[in-house]
Symmetry: C2
Subunit: 411 residues, 2 copies
């Protein structure tokens, strides 16, 4: 008798974005005229083409595969040496963080990595997750059996939720009780909030005191405009002993369809065996990749490497400036429309309070029906997201400006 993994049955029915897609589809079928002017600011997917430096590098890599002399088969499961070295140098050492090339593991995105990391961690760990939050952190823990059933507000037994809202500036303080694994994401998806050096330092101190591990998702670091805001958890002293960082090329290089990201696993990070010995996690993570993967597609890795060239850096900067221009337009427009607005300064997401009396999903329906604009309801990211909605700045300038105009008609 073959058994299935019962933990999957605890998952809440719909993943957020399929439910949005369903409502949009039904609306468009019923209202073809409105459908024609629909603007999507829901899912955080890039819209602008890949920069020329990346395109050229990918073409060249494909050509290499077309002749015997330069053809390449299996690569290192952990990634191209040259790409790992560029990341360690430019993303870390150039900013004063001590990261070696063999601590960088190339993957096909930070979403998979956020799930895979649980492979090497024990089932005994007490997990803390911010609320609202990117749903993947919660769902992968449910699948791994680290939770009980979901309660009424959609919260799972066994997870320590860390509420984030206007009162704490969307950055939680470490909890009074000890936890073992903490997910932090800054700049934050969905709130657009950022954590200061002092706030992240308190988290590092907490983690070191409790022998906890911070899983730091820095997928949006390229959108930081304030020079005082840290780009990496490893800018905090002591983080190499208590943190793992996830990064993505999705939102800087526009790789949502090309797929590449990486994890930094410091060799100095240790965790405990069941019988209390402390061992380094790096060899476990290395073994995971050797056994369960064959490395990321060669042309994709070459494309990612081009992001670190002089031309690539300049072109990626232009892309980010474009999206952050949208962000400013949307933030100012929502403010003018009288809505309380957060985020959008160091992140491509604007986090907006709903109109008085409306839930997140009611606001979603209102925006869809009255403005023909698709947003993401805040409650989809957790119970503390109720009463908010997220506007994504990933769009053309023209669309951002049009959404800005339509927001003025909300009242």
């Amino acid at each position: 008798m073959a058994y299935l993994n019962d933990n999957y049955l605890k998952l809440q029915a719909g993943y957020l974005f399929p439910e949005i897609a369903r409502r949009v589809r039904e609306f468009c079928e019923a209202n073809p005229n409105a459908a024609a002017r629909l603007i999507r600011c829901g899912i955080g997917d890039v819209t602008e083409p890949l920069p020329p430096a990346i395109i050229a590098a990918m073409h060249q890599a494909v050509d290499e595969l077309s002749v015997r002399e330069t053809f390449r088969g299996y690569g290192h499961e952990q990634g191209l040496e040259s790409l790992r070295e560029k990341i360690a140098q430019q993303d870390y050492r150039d900013r004063g963080s001590d990261v070696a090339a063999d601590e960088v593991f190339i993957s096909d995105g930070s979403k998979p990595d956020c799930g895979f990391i649980l492979d090497i961690l024990g089932h005994q760990n007490r997990i803390a997750i911010t609320d609202p939050v990117y749903p993947v952190y919660v769902d992968t823990n449910v699948m791994a059996g680290h939770t009980g059933q979901a309660g009424e507000a959609g919260r799972y037994e066994g997870i320590t939720y860390l509420p984030c809202g206007p009162a704490n500036g969307f950055v939680p303080e470490p909890p009074p009780e000890p936890v073992d694994i903490v997910y932090l994401c800054f700049p934050n998806n969905p709130t657009g909030g950022v954590a200061s050096r002092a706030q992240l330092t308190r988290w590092v101190e907490y983690a070191r005191e409790h022998n906890a591990i911070i899983l730091f998702d820095a997928a949006y670091e390229a959108y930081i405009t304030d020079p005082e805001i840290p780009h990496s958890i490893f800018e905090m002293p002591g983080a190499r002993e208590c943190a793992i960082e996830f990064r993505s090329f999705s939102k800087n290089g526009g790789f949502t369809g090309v797929r590449c990201g990486f994890t930094v696993m410091p060799k100095s990070l240790q965790a405990s065996t069941a019988d209390g010995r402390k061992l380094s996690l790096h060899p476990l993570w290395h073994r995971r990749w050797s056994t369960k993967a064959n490395g990321v597609s060669y042309p994709v890795q070459r494309g990612a490497e081009a992001i670190y060239s002089a031309d690539g850096r300049k072109q990626v900067r232009t892309l980010i400036d474009h999206y952050m221009g949208n962000s400013r337009i949307l933030r100012e427009a929502a403010t003018r429309a009288g809505l309380p607005v957060y985020g959008g300064v160091n992140a491509p997401y604007i986090w907006v309070q709903t109109l008085p009396g409306l839930t997140s999903w009611q606001m979603f329906d209102r925006m869809l029906q009255d403005l023909n604009v698709v947003i993401t309801p805040g409650s989809g990211f957790g119970s503390c997201g109720e009463g908010f909605f997220r506007i994504s700045a990933f769009n053309s300038r023209e669309n951002a400006e049009e959404v800005g105009r339509r927001l003025q008609t909300l009242a």
Copy 2:
């Protein structure tokens, strides 16, 4: 206190291929003259360039990403519709197997899929694995905590091993005791053996009788030359109720560095909850992909799709004929050298008995030192591989012929 996954500590120290690489490196450093004439027939990695149809499709897809009008971001987590449909039609329905497009899940290779499949299965399952075997099946079960410690012969407590050797033609019969999950790989890596329709039918009957699931790895199906040998487990009646199939573009299209494969998960396949309800596995697998992945790189999927075009099919056929030409040369040469030879007829691997009195690793050293040829020691694939070695046919014709000549000097 953060805990690690103790099960990783049960894994045997070296993955096979790193150990081979170490011995070859040391030999080459000590013997620079011999190093210059070294020929590698160890790891099963393709050597010939990608076919032109695939190259053209990948270039075109990269170009699509360079302009706003055709740019694509996130795709379906489960894969491009058009690719899934072509696979279902050409690989299955055209051969009489009933497989729908939404039962095909595109991945970055069958190695990852063989590990990922355990995500949706319960920890209670009793696992059966052939011996010798591709090490990934065993190691991913060790990591998931499905075994005890390794014993002296490297076998793990808690796994039912199914011995394969000349006596059973390298195809095991179902065991007398009931097991829940069975890994089968035909054409086999490493033995090159194939299973007949009658043999696979007995396995399907066994699985249905015991409500077991067959995990069928068909990564080498393109190398089947005998028209009587099934290409897919789904050619057996009833397999849709008891089997999952893994396939790869690595060895037909030459995608070892490009990375693409797929899993077929029939909607009619059920497994049991802990409390004995039978549920379909398809929604769990679908959910796993939605939550833990963002789909395979767009240009890679377009490259895979080109394999199914008229030109692509012809060009892939030429590639396979090339490798199978090598296979014949190597098989005949080893036979002429007086060695008992298996496989190599419907698979790109030749499985050869060692010289009398030599272990697999002793034979490895002898081949390296006397012939300057790298092979894979059979014992690296399991204790029943002792006394054998694997020669890979993935090479240039020139190298295959030269290895054939050198084999004659073995005596």
